[in-house]
């Protein structure tokens, strides 16, 4: 049995039967955190806040939304026009999706830059990739719900990907649709799953946090926190720092919600879905563009003029592969040094990789014609080369800079440097 440290008799009574207070104290207050975390580390907790905002606004939207192909579009417009503050809920949810991906992508690139995926954080990292996959599925299905032109045609393109699977592809597509075309059964199941998936995300986020608290946070130096002076309690230091981060985040987020709510959206999605009229350019939401580029630029894979893998199937494999490869990152990078600060070669490739992802995003936003195909193929080749060739080779041949002996020594040196 736990002996509660609390002085309050009621708190003590509860704590000794269900140790919530001991737990909160240990994991949120005393939780030892490296003292040198910079603001890039705030994006994890910001992502948590966005998840909560999305869930709350989503539940309230669900109370007003009608999941039927004849009424979905108008029910969203009813929310926008007739429901009290419905426009606010809807714009918070719509822009919240984009914000969620911005925040999570920053969180992910921070993890890559500072080597947060390396031992002992492999499972923590893998759980993060699972969250990303769940987020993508949730976002995709959510985008279908307003039943506008992009909803419908985006769903058409993405569900049709599965038809590339040999032999069973077409059956799988019919099974996903619940019929022989995208129609009401597709919409209702996407709605049900769009409501379910966030709760799965909550479960995996909980595991992500358990794994984090087992191995503790990495830090910008990438050296383990060993001495007591290397760490500070989470509260009040990081609660104070994170809350300031929340303030800045909400300024940006609400800036879009109130003053440019359709900035991230496609105008075509304000046209009701019409299976008979294909929009001239079908583009997914911006956060899928790099993957969309990979999907579309892959050519037939031929051996001596014999088509080994059709372009469509190859595109699907590479698109899913581009995310799945992240699972293997901890083992592809065998360098013992975590932080890019001490890895001069890795650091340069990191920035090229980031630029490559942005390039792929730009290619994905444009029709797959002419020079965009070439750019896209180069970008795709580099994307995979980065993980499969460059990272293992750099880990092997790079000579890292000398590491500081401890977190605290480096922090104190920096302070001295500032003063002199």
């Amino acid at each position: 049995m736990i002996t509660s440290k609390s002085a309050h008799p009621v708190v003590k009574w509860i704590d000794e039967r269900l140790p919530v207070f001991t737990f909160l104290n240990r994991e949120l207050r005393d939780y030892p955190t490296p003292r040198n975390l910079n603001y890039w580390w705030s994006f994890g907790s910001i992502a948590g806040v966005v998840l909560v905002v999305m869930t709350l606004t989503g539940i309230m939207l669900a109370m007003q939304y009608t999941a039927h192909m004849d009424y979905a579009f108008d029910s969203v417009e009813r929310i926008m026009r007739d429901v009290n503050y419905g426009w606010l809920l809807r714009y918070l949810h719509m822009n919240g999706g984009s914000m969620f991906f911005i925040v999570v992508y920053i969180h992910l690139f921070r993890g890559i830059y500072f080597g947060s995926y390396k031992s002992p954080r492999e499972i923590l990292w893998a759980l993060g990739v699972v969250i990303l996959l769940l987020m993508m599925a949730t976002a995709f299905m959510g985008y279908v719900l307003p039943w506008g032109q992009m909803s419908f045609w985006g769903a058409t393109v993405i569900t049709n990907l599965f038809s590339a699977i040999p032999l069973v592809g077409d059956s799988i597509v019919n099974w996903l649709w619940g019929g022989y075309s995208i129609a009401n059964p597709t919409l209702t199941r996407f709605y049900a799953l769009h409501y379910l998936f966030p709760f799965l995300i909550f479960v995996v986020v909980a595991l992500h946090l358990v794994a984090l608290h087992m191995v503790k946070s990495n830090n910008p130096l990438g050296v383990d926190a060993k001495e007591p002076q290397d760490t500070i309690p989470f509260h009040p230091y990081y609660t104070a720092k994170d809350f300031f981060g929340f303030g800045v985040f909400f300024l940006v987020y609400l800036g879009f919600v109130f003053f440019a709510p359709d900035f991230f959206g496609e105008p075509d999605n304000y046209i009701p879905a019409n299976p008979l009229a294909t929009p001239p350019h079908i583009v997914p939401e911006w956060y899928f563009l790099p993957f969309y580029a990979i999907l579309r630029v892959v050519p037939d894979i031929e051996v001596f003029g014999f088509i080994l893998v059709e372009a469509k199937l190859a595109g699907v494999i590479l698109m899913f592969g581009s995310i799945l490869v992240l699972f293997f990152l901890p083992w592809l990078d065998s360098s013992k040094v975590r932080s890019a600060r001490f890895r001069p070669i890795f650091k340069q490739f990191f920035w090229i990789f980031l630029a490559d992802c942005l390039l792929l995003g730009w290619v994905g936003a444009n029709p797959p014609e002419g020079s965009f195909v070439v750019l896209g193929r180069i970008g795709t080749a580099f994307y995979f080369a980065y993980f499969i060739i460059i990272i293992p080779l750099v880990a092997r041949f790079e000579k890292p800079l000398p590491l500081p002996s401890s977190v605290v020594s480096s922090v104190l040196n920096e302070k001295k440097g500032e003063r002199s």
Binding site: R81, Y180, Y237, E369, G370
Partner: protein, 255 residues
Amino acid sequence: MIRGALTTACSLMAGLFLLPSPAAVVEIIEIEKRDWSFDGIFGSFDRTAQQRGYQIYNEACSGCHGLRLLTYRNLAALGYSEDDIKAFATDFDVTDGPDDEGEMYQRNALPSDHFVSPFPNTQASRAANNGALPPDLSLIVKARKNGADYIYALLTSYGDAPDDEELPDGMYYNAVFPGHQIAMPPPLYDDTIEYSDGTLATVDQMASDVTTFLAWAASPEMEARKRLGLKAMLFLLVLTALLAAVKHKVWSRLN
């Protein structure tokens, strides 16, 4: 059989989207950016322009284009009184019912009714418009790239087709419409409408007014949104400054 054909058709369709196709020439049309009363974080709709725009909609657009997502009572936002709105609505008939005898019946529209569309369905609409379908205008400003600027440009860019372009019957040349061939005849001509407030009814003026009206129709929440937004941002600025001060104070203990 049908099942097989359908799945094949779907896969073919998907194939078309997914595979790099030979470069098609897509002309990029520049749309001129104009100043609107509703631009910017302090922007609001010019009420008189909105009212004139509503007049244009009634007299020049509503014969073919619906505004089905709006109700007549929404017009209160333009500054019209309850009696004005009742009078606007009464001009339209809606089907209601069934009554106690089980019969549907026609009645005059009420302020709570949605705008009555000019055609009962898309087939009737196409039949009356030479096969073309005039889109509903409720969301048109949000549903087109460049929004209000595009709608204005479309209304003011009619002209004669260049000599090398041949127009099919019933099509008109419009410099900003994708493909330049539009089924909508030029809807506005100088001085064909007499503004009730005496404003000179040039094509530019009418296009600008009706665009303002349609921008409101697409985002009727805009003024409330920006007002609340300013308060929210002001509050957040103060809160964030305080949080920055708290963070600074707490962390200063570490030195």
